[in-house]
Amino acid sequence: MKVVLENLTKKYPNRNKRIGGDVTAVGDFNFEIPDGKLIGLLGPSGCGKSTTLNLISGLIKPTSGKIWFGETDVTNLPPENRGVGLVFQNYALYPHLTVRQNITFPLENLKGSAKLSKQVMEDKAFEAAKLVQIDHLMDRKPSELSGGQQQRVAIARALVKVPRVLLLDEPLSNLDARLRLQTREEIRRIQQETGVTTIFVTHDQEEAMSISDMIVVMKDGYVQQIGKPQEVYDDPINLFVAKFLGTPPINVFEGEAKGGKVYIGNEAVADCPKVEDQKLWIGIRPEGFIPDDNGPMSCKLLRVEVMGRDVSIVSENEAASGPTIRSIVSSDIKVDPTRSEVRFSVKPHKIHIFNRKTEQRIYID
């Protein structure tokens, strides 16, 4: 089922009466989610990603705009008629019911011709439980399960009625780091096995990048960029997106374009023949630095952190907007940690320049 969001907007009246006006939680969201894809809604807290999810589920009514499931306009349908499966951040498993009862709960709501026999419900519940690999825990209460198992029960409960769209609200944030890694693979697997169009919300860019077919980066209620994870990472549309994606984060410098070259301080680090002279923000990905004694960038070396596969060089530069610059290079490259200065040259496709005022990307080519 493809999902289309058309100028979707949700405004709330401002709580602070003196300021008045409305607060835009989601503004003018346009996106056609292709059928059967896994979409990550990504952004810092308060950016409107959960509101968007609730708008799609129908728990919140939009101020304006439309939502389509396939060819059906569902904007004014109540949540129960939309056929969405929703997994809550805290799972919202009914604590007084067993796993089995939790999973069959949505099926027992069916009425009329859709009504199922007890046996069919049990079978369907078992099938869903098997899909998320909790079929051996059917008689337990949620309190007797680990966080990861509860998460799976919640997913099984959302899947059991074969939803047209599966919505996951911060599905991994209550799990520890290791489980998170495992569960996100699991979500990917389940999504691919069922082929259900899935939208999940997260503030963790790594999570979104690793399993999504497409990511939507949001800020202050507005979509910043939509695209395949790698595309968005390689080709951020503005400084916010560039900074939000990537761990360690992109290194940002004050600089300028002058005579067709990009300057950080007095050092020309890249060419930009078509760009007018102006002040810039310059972003360089950590992996974009090459230690090079003849390179244009000179930095004060602070320390070298060896992390096995990679080496992380931490250094300082006056033009940097952060306190330190972190560059990641292959551990094959030896950097003498006792020296006081390190010089870099920069990979041209790992450097992005942005207008100093608007923070919009300026394309070098």
Partner: protein, 296 residues
Amino acid sequence: MENKSLKGWLYLLPALLFLGVFMVYPLIDVFIYSVEEGYNSASQTFYGYGAYNFSYVLHDTYFLQAIRNTFLLVVITVPISTGIALLLAIALTSIEKFRNLYQTIFFLPYVTNTLAIGLVFMILFKKTAYSDGMINMLIMAVGGHAIDFIDGPYAAKMFVLCFYTIWVVLPFKILILTSSLASVNQDYYNAARVDGTSKWRIFTKITLPMISPSIFYLIITGFIGAFKAYSDVVALFGTDLNAAGMNTIVGYVYDMLYGDSGGYPSYAAAAALILFVIVLTITVINMLVRRKHVYI
């Protein structure tokens, strides 16, 4: 370790001391009184030990009347008041306008003096030389016959007592249930809504189990409170409850101690112990029921 537990006992000492003096010692004393036969409070003498006091009390028609009244009061008021409180609490949580106003109104009986409320009920129900009481005026207005609620037939008196008791205990129950309802995580309701759960099913399958600990608490305290009913009855029917046929177990105990026919601490102690056994039994039954039906 030894030192630590000593310290612990030291900190507990004041509480233990007061509990011992004002709770444990009187309890033991009541038990001793109850088995001392022919105790004379003036001379502080008695004939011997035995179960005669219990036998006397259990054969006393006034006590049997008191037990009947108390049980009726418990059986009628606890379920009805809890049910009404639940309905009102749900209504309160589902409205937005004037919620605080209504909450205040419902809470007023809780902060009003028992005797003042008793007076109001007199005005509502009592038949005097000058007036039949407001309720009777209403009954007559719709063509009925005036009933003497305070000095009239037993059923009428019982009705007033139950009405009064329910009205008095409602605020506390509403308060507990509204806060309990508010503490149910909204996500459960959202999850149920997304799954197309009907309102009735949400109520029976989610809301009720979630607030069942509070309901259970209210039922237990309601039972215990109703078994201990006394001051309300006095406020309505005066101090000579035996004559009015409206005595309660606690009222009987009081009368045996200080009433006009009083001065029998042994009978009072026996009656008090019987009440204790009844309340204990019912609480234990409640606990057993709870284990089966209350989600925790």
